[in-house]
């Protein structure tokens, strides 16, 4: 690469970060302000989150395990967003994926683990994909906005699962859960300490994020997808099959959300519980948009949000802060990131002034 190309590239990446970084800094400052108002020193808050999430090997294992659903639902949202579609339905796709995979694992118990584990994941992903498809079909055939349809299909999925798990797929108790999945379908711990440990799931999720990033940035298909994302009209004019790409990516997005559910079942709960998800699907939206829906940066937001969530117990113990504080922190950051256009225009204004001044001296 020649010198000018490198310079342009650096300028381009500064350009793209010029909104996000100040927005995040602003968000963190707001969180610090809130902490002060709540009577907590911001430094204490930060160190407590750090200790709670990464302070000991088992805390780190817990945090890593929590990263899995956030990365996958975040990736699901980002992927659909590459083609200008917003998948708000991850929660439903995840719930359905979890139930489908756990019901399948219970039914297919005699299979050996080597076959059972991948099949279980496939069934979960398939259920998520199947639940995502109607939304994109409705959009293309009937012009129903996908935000509305996916949002509402969440509730259909959640209550459908509730019905199924209290009835035909339940374990006979009134606890709202399926029977335990066979040990062959459970992901083994790579590392364990006491009752906590970490499986391969977070690393798989990370690999998927990197894979998607490379696919989007380095391949011909990725180029087409990004073209659809930047303008559907001109892509259509250029002969790119916009509808087909939107359908494919939306279904893929649903599959990722379903996979997130299946992984929670296979690595954490070992069965489907009606109340297992505290809103992972919705948190995926946060995870995705805190880093501008770019799959290459998801690891950062995924790890950050997981750290916050894993540290909530430590916040309660050492600072007596309500665990809901972390929900507030998430929300403040997301809102600041949503305002990044404002920060970017301020940056561009400064940049042009700077260039003017510099050229004036010449």
């Amino acid at each position: 690469m020649n010198k000018a190309g490198l310079g342009r590239r650096i300028e381009g990446s500064i350009e793209s970060l010029s909104g996000l970084v100040p927005a995040l800094v602003f968000g963190f400052l707001m969180c610090a302000l809130l902490a002060v108002l709540a009577g907590v020193a911001p430094v204490d808050l930060a160190t407590t989150v750090w200790t709670g999430a990464w302070g000991s090997p088992d805390a780190a294992a817990t945090t890593l395990s929590k990263t899995t659903p956030l990365l996958l639902t975040g990736l699901a949202v980002s992927l659909a967003y590459q083609t200008n579609l917003l998948n708000i339905g991850c929660e439903g796709q995840l719930t359905l994926g979890a139930l489908a995979s756990s019901a399948f694992a219970v039914a297919a118990a005699p299979l050996p683990g080597l076959v059972l584990i991948p099949l279980t994941m496939l069934v979960g992903a398939g259920a998520g994909a199947a639940w995502a498809y109607p939304a994109v079909w409705l959009k293309q055939q009937r012009g129903v906005h996908e935000v509305i349809s996916t949002l509402l299909m969440n509730y259909m999925a959640i209550y459908l699962c509730e019905y199924l798990v209290l009835g035909p797929l339940g374990d006979g108790t009134a606890m709202g859960r399926t029977p335990e999945i066979p040990t062959g379908a459970v992901w083994p711990f790579l590392w364990r300490h006491g009752a906590v440990g970490v499986t391969a799931a977070p690393f798989l999720a990370l690999l998927l994020c990197i894979g998607v990033h490379l696919w989007l940035s380095r391949t011909c298909w990725g180029y087409e997808i990004r073209a659809v994302g930047s303008s559907t009209t001109s892509s259509r004019a250029a002969g790119i099959p916009v509808d087909r790409w939107q359908t494919r990516l939306f279904v893929l997005s649903g599959a990722l959300a379903g996979l997130a559910g299946a992984l929670e079942v296979a690595t954490v709960h070992h069965r489907f519980y009606r109340t297992f998800s505290p809103g992972y699907g919705f948190d995926g939206i946060t995870a995705a948009f805190v880093v501008n829906a770019s799959p290459g940066w998801l690891w950062l937001s995924g790890l950050f949000l997981a750290s916050l969530r894993a540290a909530d117990k430590w916040l309660q113990l050492s600072l007596q802060v309500t665990p809901n504080a972390i929900v507030i922190i998430q929300a403040v950051l997301l809102i600041s990131v949503a305002c990044q256009a404002r920060f970017r225009s301020a940056w561009q204004f400064m940049l042009t002034r700077f260039k003017e001044v510099r050229s004036g001296y010449r």
Binding site: K66, A195, V196, R274, P278, K313, W314, Q316, L317, T322
Partner: protein
């Protein structure tokens, strides 16, 4: 003769240099977590609740009361941790077990987690409420909720004018099933003394932490013509209280904690489940060095299950009804009367003779 090396330092006079080093050190010290405040060893107690947390006007609040009493009496340091999601149970319990000397877990939903985690922390004492866990450093307590349910059912069945009573439950876990079965047995006993049938409508919210659903379920019960509602729903029940407060002619029987004074005259009675006594006694035993591990069933006979004295609602009952309820409390205190614990045992239940119990 000046040393050659000194020339490079001329930009910073020694005073400025040291003040900068000092500032840097202070800055990094601020980043470190504060040192442990007290040298003297006070026992640490951590209480773990599920997502409903404190303020549920029931199960968690009652248990926390016992911990607070123990904290005052034995100079402990007690804290509570609310788990935001089910995936946290094992992780939070592990963390608490490492951090504290005594861990108190509240609720049936924690049973599996305690079973998994406790063996790894043989030096920590575990007190688990609702659900059986074994281990020589674990004490678990279960309550004969059916006895409280029985008294609630008797009071509701005797009181109802519309001959229709309702129950709002959280999740149908075994302790709640016991409550409801006991309630049905109580209503059955009331039927015997009224000589007329009383209909029971049971609805479930599917969650212990959904007050909005609790409120709408209670409204649905009112619409079906119910005039007494029994709640066994944890934090969901807060919504049931709301409905009863705002609806004329509908009365409530609350669970676990004495709430009679919250809506005076509209809460007929509260069943009393003395988790606080169990937790307090267990902590006392640990402090005094005679911890009793194992599983314990506590009921009316142990003073752990009862109903309030109906201070605000006495005038709404006939003296005959009050006598029956009083006798029922005494009968239960004298020993087990085979109140059904499970739904399928209710049909075979024979109402006890409450008239014969002498005053």
């Amino acid at each position: 003769m000046p040393l050659k090396g000194m020339t490079s330092c001329k930009a910073l006079p020694p005073g400025r240099f040291f003040s900068r080093v000092f500032a840097a050190v202070v800055f990094f010290l601020m980043l470190l977590p504060p040192p442990a405040a007290c040298a003297a060893k006070t026992m640490k107690v951590v209480v773990l609740t599920d997502a409903s947390g404190l303020g549920d006007k029931g199960f968690n609040d009652v248990s926390w009361k016992g911990v607070q009493r123990a904290q005052a009496d034995f100079h402990l340091k007690a804290q509570f941790v609310q788990s935001r999601e089910q995936a946290d149970y094992v992780a939070n319990l592990s963390m608490a077990s490492k951090f504290a000397d005594i861990v108190v877990t509240l609720g049936y939903l924690y049973t599996d987690a305690v079973r998994q985690v406790a063996p790894y922390f043989p030096d920590t004492f575990f007190i688990h409420i609702e659900g059986e866990v074994s281990g020589d450093h674990v004490a678990s307590y279960d309550f004969k909720s059916e006895e409280g349910g029985f008294l609630a059912g008797l009071a509701a069945g005797l009181f109802t004018k519309k001959r229709r009573v309702g129950v709002v439950t959280g999740m149908d876990i075994p302790p709640v099933e016991a409550y409801v079965s006991g309630f049905r047995a109580g209503v059955k006993t009331a039927e015997k003394y009224r000589n007329e049938p009383v209909e029971i409508i049971i609805v479930s919210a599917g969650s212990f932490n959904d007050p909005v659903k609790g409120k709408s379920l209670a409204q649905a019960l009112v619409a079906r013509g119910v005039d007494v509602i029994f709640r066994a729903a944890g934090n969901t029940g807060v919504g049931v209280n709301e409905t009863v407060r705002n609806t004329e002619g509908v009365y409530l029987i609350a669970e676990d904690l004495d709430q009679d004074a919250d809506i005076p005259g509209k809460i007929l009675a509260s069943t009393l489940k003395r988790m606080d006594v169990a937790v307090y006694d267990a902590i006392r035993d640990i402090v005094q060095g005679n911890f009793k591990s194992g599983h314990h069933w506590l009921g009316a006979a142990e003073g752990a299950m009862d109903i309030t004295d109906m201070e605000y609602s006495k005038h709404l009952f006939s003296s005959n009804d009050l006598l029956l309820i009083r006798n029922a409390r005494r009968v239960l205190k004298d020993g087990s009367r085979g109140i059904p614990k499970r739904h399928n045992e209710v049909d075979g239940f024979q109402p006890p003779d409450l008239k014969a119990a002498t005053d």
